[in-house]
Symmetry: C2
Subunit: 243 residues, 2 copies
Amino acid sequence: MIYELYYWPGIQGRGEFVRLALEEAGAEYIEMALVPEEQGGGVPAMIQFLEGSEVARPPFAPPFLKAGRKLIGQTANILLFLGPRLGLAPRDAAGRLWTHQLQLTLADFVVEIHDTHHPIGGGLYYEQQKAEAKRRSRDFLAHRLPKFLGYFEGVIARNPDSVKRLAGKRLTYADLSMAQVIAGLRYAFPGAARNALRACPRLRALHDEVFARARIKRYVASGRRLAFNNDGIFRRYPELDAA
Amino acid sequence: MIYELYYWPGIQGRGEFVRLALEEAGAEYIEMALVPEEQGGGVPAMIQFLEGSEVARPPFAPPFLKAGRKLIGQTANILLFLGPRLGLAPRDAAGRLWTHQLQLTLADFVVEIHDTHHPIGGGLYYEQQKAEAKRRSRDFLAHRLPKFLGYFEGVIARNPDSVKRLAGKRLTYADLSMAQVIAGLRYAFPGAARNALRACPRLRALHDEVFARARIKRYVASGRRLAFNNDGIFRRYPELDAA
């Protein structure tokens, strides 16, 4: 199976959570945004799936994955589908549901991280909502960031099957996504992330282990992993960070 | 199986999406917030699951469901679990994934609806973020509300198996949640919802059909369904509505 991943070009964004799972598993996939338009790729092909009236099950937004004739949207849903196929989910049904639950909580976290720089509307520029962004970021860094990180740190601490994983014994897609969120937080809020992560040794170790894995290292070194930048979810606006 | 539903007392909130599924299926469940503390209910019992160090798989937030020894959090995940058990999900795996995808998109919609009155932080009062709420609501009503409603209207229009359902031939939990969102929008934004729903005859019909179903009618008439109020997701602040 060669998967086709549809996502905006130029940013890691939510597509990166899917990419990390595909990369860790050594799965074959095509980044459709990089395929020339005349070969059925690029943004126009993506828009066609979102808006084409012949699409019976249109995604609301990217990322979405084409797996044979299946078209699957919503990041967490894509990972729910891919997890067992890529060997990145627990084998039992209860463990899979729990892993998905963690992924959904990560998705909530990601929305709140994104909204620190876009508290008023995604269609407006940051500069048009900078005052509100400062206020929301202050609240996020004081209350939400430690709450979310403390929660996930506690999840690893309570995992009866592993001292370093969120769910079960084996690496799951939720571990990969968690590591990506930590990397993103360190990019966006270097000061606040350092402070908040002091209390989270298990999360720091999880991040380091994920980015030291052979296939993830190869992916990062390949140049295919885009750098964080100020068009994505995690943006570095120094005025939003805490000292 | 008698399910135990844990959610904040006094509001419909996200718990209501789970309740509507349980009610429509005629499932037995206990609203744990209404059980006296000395019988293991109330808010303290709920907090115990969120914070107790003996809980191996703690939810991040309510609602969560206890089903035998399983403890399941995240609204969409609870419905993913309940759907097949309650006969409220398609029978095929692809149909279930699609229904879940729709539920996740509804969850995204609900976050945006909530954040119209809390754009800065959930820990602050509305009155502390009223100016920002006005700005966010204006953007939401102009851009996001019609985009989400248009999407779901289109999903029904494209459903090859039914002219009135979001997914497949039979009623699913996503149909119930969609109807609840429409009811909530009409409460919160009576002017803007009326305008936006003019272009959505299928969603209006879906809402009416769901709330005309025998078990849902009985639930609404029972007094157990709480009224919408200004502590929940959908709040009526006339200054946020459009004419």
